[in-house]
Amino acid sequence: MPLGRLERAYAYEVAPRQEAGFVGGPAHLSDRLSATLDTTYAQSGLERATAVDFVIANPESGSRENPVRSALLATAFGTAEAASEAAVGLAARFGWATDLRSKPSLFIATVHAGANSNRKQVVLWTFPQQEVFRLRTDGADATIDVLEVFIRDSPLRKAAMFTGGAGPSDFLTGRALDAQSGSTDRSVADLWIVKFLDSRLQMSSDEGTRLLAQSLRHAHDKLEANPDAQAEVQAAIIRLRNTKARRVTLAQIAAQFSRPVAAAFRTQQVNTEALTAAFELNKVLFDALVEYRIYKLGNGVWVSAPFGTLGRDVTEEQTADGKRLIATGIVETERVRSKHG
């Protein structure tokens, strides 16, 4: 869905922990700004970004209240004054959400025409400040200036988009883009979606973990005749068990596979949204579902036992000396290594 006609825009410079006194305000709606926003949107992938739902803190009230949702509705449908006030409120909320490790950012809220006159699109952007050089020349003399500017295509930029009318069923869900949401540092990972947007990922941790395990298992079973392809799946399991990333998507995992493995991996998902939905990997559940074990024996032998082989081809036996492992099967490939490791 492309962005509709630009109707309102607000821009503020926001420093970490800043609560008031923002530099900025309603922005002049020029063709150039509109074109730049369209390009930024098209390049960002926001249209296909992770789906998020607003957290309704008190669902018993039936009022569907969420502070960010209220501000977005006011920005989109309120009077010019109410919209401006709501946009400043969003900037202040972003200042509150950031910590002192962050640099100042340019915070932009834009309102676009929706599919019909009752509907609007609201897009929120943050572009971090970075130092850039500017070269000036005057004849043979060159001067290098160091400027602090907001970077439009910074990998640290964040965005969110919400679409709908002003009714109770509108602006409850949207899309959020944040390259840092997979960060190992929870405060960094949660800054945009959880803390600022007061939202939750649509795919829950257990749901995503189950889907991931099912997809891997399906790919592994389907590629039974292709040991190299199965080895790719097994390697992915080991990587996932050791990953420190807080959030993953199935698309990120599929991207690491060769074409046949990726194709087999994808067949378990209902639609492409399942691929781009971020979720928190539940490693305990993942281990339980994939049943993938790696044993190191006292004699230096390593055994890895993938899906469903435990208890069938690989069995454990309690002996007086400890647990004894019995693995049986036909050797398909073997490698000789000059050096261990």
Binding site: A51, D53, V55, I56, P59, T173, N271
Partner: protein, 217 residues
């Protein structure tokens, strides 16, 4: 009522997608409640086309239409139900659904008066996750973005479910005789009492409150 044929036609066009969505949501809720042994059933249904049209054209006491965009605004076009054995199971099951799906509404429906007995249920409204939407649903901007869920005990369900066939509607007296009214009142109170007693006996016999399997941390 020029809208009626158009609404019916449009709704019937999306019906197959709604059925597909119901299957996806059933799988999702079944997974979310994995390990809850006191769950009698989990079911989803798309709203019947005739029922949708009746609701879409319903009016407020002022005579105004209740919905100006019913195809999008009516939230029980896709609705699910979880039936549990005991009253004590309502809370953990509801809590699990809340934590897994994040409700936008969670309201307990029950009679207001101290001496009243009647319909009881936990009503929840959730956003339909994009990754569960069939293609026909996701590509249609006029589809609702939410679905409804009810969580009830067997006895709550036993009282509530036949109401449709009896023609019961809240606030409308369908009974012809006083004895019919008294019989229904006795049924409602009996279902409420039986529900309580069953839960109490279960507690006394040491039946553990259903906590479900925890796949989570």
């Amino acid at each position: 009522m020029d809208d009626e044929p158009m609404l019916l036609r449009t709704y019937e066009t999306r019906f197959a997608s709604a059925e597909e969505l119901c299957r996806a949501l059933t799988r999702r809720v079944r997974e979310a409640l994995d390990g809850f042994v006191h769950v009698d059933r989990i079911s989803f249904r798309p709203k019947a086309p005739a029922s949708f049209v009746t609701k879409a054209l319903s009016t407020k006491p002022t005579g105004e239409r209740r919905y100006d965009d019913p195809l999008r605004q009516i939230e029980d076009q896709v609705a699910g139900r979880v039936i549990v054995f005991f009253r004590d199971d309502l809370r953990p099951v509801t809590e699990r659904l809340r934590s897994e799906l994040g409700p936008i509404e969670a309201i307990r429906r029950e009679p207001v008066g101290d001496a009243e007995f009647g319909y009881e249920s936990e009503h929840l409204i959730f956003v339909i996750p994009n990754h569960l939407k069939p293609t026909g649903w996701i590509n249609d901007e006029t589809t609702p973005i939410t679905f409804e869920m009810q969580v009830r005990t067997l006895f709550m369900h036993a009282w509530a479910e036949p109401q449709h066939d009896l023609g019961y509607k809240p606030g409308v007296d369908v009974c012809v005789h006083r004895e019919q009214r008294r019989s229904l009142a006795w049924l409602a109170a009996s279902a409420w009492g039986a529900d309580r007693i069953l839960s109490e006996v279960a507690r006394e016999l040491g039946v553990t409150v259903d906590a479900g399997a925890s796949g989570a941390s």
